[in-house]
Symmetry: C2
Subunit: 163 residues, 2 copies
């Protein structure tokens, strides 16, 4: 269980980790602060990478969701144009998985959470993918939308069990 303070730290840390690892791989992103919201608020998502976070009393998930333009930006930039952005291709989707891995790794180091482990990313593609907030009591969910400079939107959807 995370209390309100820990939740705020987690959300901020994941957001800033995403921006900093993004910058390191040439992906400039800006958080659209006015659009940060509780719950899930995404649009036109075609690709998603999901990481489970468990341990030390914490249970949650970090999900990166991309619209079509965002997917193209991430794959092209991170692969230096070497990989064709195709959501049905494992190689292209793995690029998104790698970004989510880098983000969680960075965030977990920065929050210095003990005994927390993460699952390998699950890659999901489709049309108009939405993350439906669970009705389970005690689950808090946040959506952070990032505008990618080279085009498109990346949504970071975080859910944690909160006390």
């Amino acid at each position: 269980m995370a209390d309100a303070g820990q939740l705020a730290v987690l959300v901020n840390t994941f957001g800033s980790s995403l921006i900093s690892v993004g910058r390191e791989v040439g992906l400039e992103m800006a958080l659209n602060k006015a659009q940060v919201s509780q719950g899930v608020k995404v649009q036109g998502v075609c690709a998603s990478a999901l990481i489970g976070i468990v341990g030390g009393g914490l249970q949650g998930t970090a999900v990166i969701m991309l619209d079509s333009a965002g997917f193209n930006s991430v794959v092209s930039t991170m692969s230096g144009g070497m990989i064709t952005p195709d959501i049905r291709e494992g190689v292209a989707m793995s690029v998104v998985g790698e970004l989510s891995n880098m983000m969680s790794g960075r965030a977990l180091i920065q929050t210095a959470l003990n005994g927390v482990d993460v699952t390998p990313p699950q890659l999901i593609c489709g049309e108009n993918i939405e993350n439906v907030p669970s009705q389970t009591p005690g689950i808090k969910c946040f959506t952070l939308p990032f505008a990618i400079q080279s085009g498109g939107t990346l949504y970071l959807v975080l859910s944690f069990n909160a006390s």
Copy 2:
């Protein structure tokens, strides 16, 4: 890391747990053994519940994926017809989450894995959702398709890190 024997046990246990918890809530399902495959092989999926499994050296995910008819069957049967099957509704999707929770709970008890924890289910809806196998080395992935007696198909996609 799970070795080949442990992997087989995990896959069998998740499959049989799904069948037995399904039966308890009135959902008769039969594994289509001829169609069990390595990797991800799903079709026409519109609803998905994903659980992360971490701890005791194990990292993995268990994903329940449903086509439209399967989603209708699961929601109608498990709610006794009380909930309208709508993939964009949290209440209806939570029924799928509950089924995945019950399955993982049962499977983890049966395999008697120590120190293994699971994330709350992540619910994802959309059109033609596919689970793209990660290119990460050491990840083994399996798809178990189940025919639901009252109509539709449920795919159980399991991925684990394997040695």
